[in-house]
């Protein structure tokens, strides 16, 4: 069984485990470093709160509706991704795996569409990045998260193609070499999962600190 928490290569061999160990650990470390980046962007936003330079503030610019939809889309996307991981673990077949990955992707794209629409609306209301310190910090923080989601979506697309090309289950393949490739796809999907859930956590922070705080303060 798995030697590494969070890793469910239940049927894989020793070699796949040996490969996965530093990869997963390294990815956690990368996420930690990425979290420092977000923490600093949050801190920058916190110091810039209320610095509107005479421009529109959160009450004029933020809308709870779209932000709530974005939150729901991203959380549901994570749920779908969780389903994909389970499908992969219990080997329910490529179709279901692709279905759930596709669902996660779709919901991610929904998030992005609403977010872009949000940004366009803010610009239209005179709340662009150059209007004030607070808005600069807003776009840096929320934009960086959005950029992460964009790359996450691209990554999901790549992984869907890889599932088709390499398979994600050992039984998809005959030779040892090919089975190893399928194992690799599995650990990649797991790492993408960590990334995807990590973005949820960051978004929860954004939703609370930026949107809820901004609209109630």
């Amino acid at each position: 069984m798995s030697r590494h928490p969070g890793l469910n290569l239940a049927h894989a061999d020793e070699k796949a485990h040996a490969e996965a160990e530093p990869l997963l650990f390294g990815f956690w470390v990368f996420l930690m470093s990425d979290l420092v980046l977000f923490a600093l962007l949050f801190a920058t936003y916190a110091t810039m709160m209320g610095v509107t330079a005479g421009g529109p503030g959160p009450k004029q610019l933020f809308e709870l509706g779209p932000a709530a939809i974005e939150t729901a889309a991203l959380l549901c996307s994570s749920l779908a991704y969780g389903m994909a991981t389970l499908v992969m673990k219990y080997e329910r077949g490529r179709v279901w795996l692709l279905f759930w990955l596709g669902a996660a992707l779709l919901l991610g794209l929904v998030f992005l569409c609403f977010e872009i629409d949000d940004f366009v609306g803010m610009f239209a209301k005179g709340g662009g990045i150059g209007r004030s310190g607070q808005l600069s910090a807003f776009f840096a923080l929320v934009g960086t998260h959005g950029l992460h989601v964009t790359f996450g979506c691209l990554w999901i697309v790549v992984m869907m193609i890889q599932v088709l090309v390499f398979g994600a289950e050992r039984r998809d393949n005959k030779t040892e070499r090919e089975r190893l490739l399928a194992d690799r796809v599995q650990t990649r999907i797991l790492r993408l999962g960590l990334f995807w859930h990590f973005l949820d956590i960051v978004w929860i922070g954004i939703f609370s600190v930026v949107y809820l705080q901004g609209l109630t303060a």
């Binding site: 209320g50 610095v51 509107t52 330079a53 005479g54 421009g55």
Partner: protein, 300 residues
Amino acid sequence: MAAAPFWFALLLVVLSGCAQTGSSMLHPWGMVAAAQRDWLVIAVALMMIVVLPVFVMVPLFAWRYRRRGGRGVYRPNWTYARVLEYPIWGVPVLIVAALAVMVATRETDLDPYRPLPGAGAPLEIDVVALDWKFLFIYPKEHVASVGLLAIPRGRPVSFHLTSDATMQSFFIPALGSQIYAMAGMETQLHLRADRDGVLDGENTQYNGADFQNEHVRVEVVPDASFARFLAECRVAGRVLDPSSYRMLAVRDTLVKAKAAFGLPPDGRLLFGDVQPGLFASIIAKYHPGDRTMRMAGQAE
């Protein structure tokens, strides 16, 4: 190389001899710089307790335990002695503790925000850092000068600083501390000059092509002469209002600014009247529409 610490130990003595009058802390002109010099000597002396043994032990050990001809015993597996751990950790801890106590107590003395004692009420001066010159406004006296700072001997001076350009650091070495001047913010500095003379003031934060020319002639004068300086300002007859301020704020040297006011390079650019509230308005213009003006550091 072993002579290196003596470079430093002798430095203060040697330097005090050759330091140009009125240019540095080594010839302090005020109580703050004098306290800083004393503090420096004490801190160096304290640290010599750790540093000097190193300078003795390195050559000593290197010689005694050299491979060819060394007399020391050889103990290749001697890697730990508990009795040595106490001084190794203990001595630095004690010295740092001593220094820390002194920092904690003296820091408030040397805090640039702390008003200083002296003869009479503090003289208030508003400093506006421009590229590449300093503007000094005497708000109570309603006069101003550029690149020239006259202060009465023995009377504490309370500076309020801001910048209408790049970030700068205002520094009169012979008098004491330096402090940043930043746009849209106000910082404070307290100094006192105890001897008459002409000192050098400068900006130490690089801010462009004429950074090196951003010097201030600091004139420490007796009270009577200070009154003459105020009269001189008024006689000059210039008014510091938005239009003359705009001429001053052009990004150029003091010499060019003087030329703009029809003065030769060694002329004295003085203003006999200053529009009230000018200093506050220079800060406020960076905060359009903000509910509260932000201040640097402890002013918050």
